[in-house]
Symmetry: C2
Subunit: 232 residues, 2 copies
């Protein structure tokens, strides 16, 4: 892959501290690829040949069973996905598809495992990354098991608002049907859930969401850092 892109990868927590020689060795086997929207990058059950790094665009991690499917997470730049499968040399548990045009680095999994075996800094960085991922899924699990769909939506909107800069109005930059899937409900029920939040000052016009009174919505949503703060 072109050396021009090394710095932005090197800047990732995962690669920042490792020995230069090992980093270069990883990069030598890696390559960057541009994908159009809606391309399936990997399928669950396949062997984990590559660690993926999203440089631009976004990727949907989803899973299928018995004719149903569900979105489990969205990967945004700049971060990696399927690290756990790579280090365990186990099959992917989720499939991945681009949501939009995306630039993605592919690093052969065996290289990652080889360097991981010899570079303690890299191993420690992987620990931090995995611990972060683990805690995020636990939070998602709590969200799903402890809250109703209306509460999940309310808290999602509050998180999204914060990430979008905190303004009272903001745009959803992806399809509502995906949001429904992420939140564990049907698109029809998402529509109704938005209506159900009107009494708390939420208005929707197309992709534009407005929160009239944040404190009011929070009184209903009861956000909790142990579920909603995805930075710790």
């Amino acid at each position: 892959m072109p050396e021009a892109q090394y710095p932005e990868i090197r800047a990732l927590g995962l690669f920042a501290e490792m020995a230069e020689a090992n980093f270069l060795s990883l990069m030598r086997g890696a390559y960057v690829q541009n994908f159009p929207p809606h391309i399936e990058l990997i399928s669950e059950g396949e062997p984990s040949d590559f660690l993926h790094v999203v440089l631009s665009g976004s990727v949907d991690l989803f899973s299928t069973w018995n004719g149903r499917d569900t979105s489990l997470a969205t990967v945004r730049p700049i971060s990696t996905f399927i690290l756990a499968a790579t280090v365990k040399n186990a099959p992917y548990l989720m499939s991945a598809r681009t949501l939009e045009k995306s630039r993605i680095v592919l690093i052969p999994s065996q290289d990652v495992r080889a360097i991981f075996d010899v570079d303690g800094s890299f191993a420690r960085a992987i620990v931090t990354e995995l611990a972060q991922c683990y805690r995020s899924v636990i939070k998602a699990q709590k969200d799903l098991k402890l809250r109703t769909s209306l509460e999940r939506l309310a808290n999602y909107l509050l998180r999204y608002q914060k990430r979008a800069g905190g303004a009272a109005a903001f745009d959803l930059d992806f399809e509502k049907r995906r949001l429904a899937s992420v939140l564990g409900m049907t698109p029809e029920n998402l529509s109704r859930a938005f209506k159900g939040l009107q009494p708390y000052g939420v208005t929707v016009e197309g992709t534009r969401i407005a929160i009239a009174d944040q404190a009011d919505l929070e009184r209903f949503a009861r956000p909790n850092p142990l579920i909603d703060d995805h930075s710790t």
Copy 2:
């Protein structure tokens, strides 16, 4: 803690490969404690002072929000819990309570982090453990989002049967109300779900479960290694 117990801890994947000196250093700060049943060991939100290792008994990991609560996992000997919080030096995301009389090792988190910084083997072992935990939660998440409660119960019984030795009849060694919570339903609905599995040959008498025709139940349950095989 008594040196007599070092070997069984040392035998854990997490501690097997690390340098002897570092292992001893970890053990020096650790201590074993016996807990009666139904004791809350840790509460979510607290700082993660200790890495826990269950030597005997069993521990329920659960979480609470807005007056509701849910069981997220059961820890059985010999394994650790709250490793992620320990390495990230972040608050616990789950509470833990003993289900029965349990012997538990407490290792100060700061010792774990200190050794983790200097012992590459230990760091690598932590990676493997965390990757395993991560993948388990992803599987639980898929189970919850892709299956109905009846399907979850059916697959749970098949997994439990396999773990209990594969016999057609076996005993549930914990309360059904906990099973209901683990499966994300109410005790009342668990009762009804058991009845709903009767047409597939499942019979229940107290804690005793019998699966008349495993193939029949599997036709309904459609177990999938990417959800139900917790060993990879």
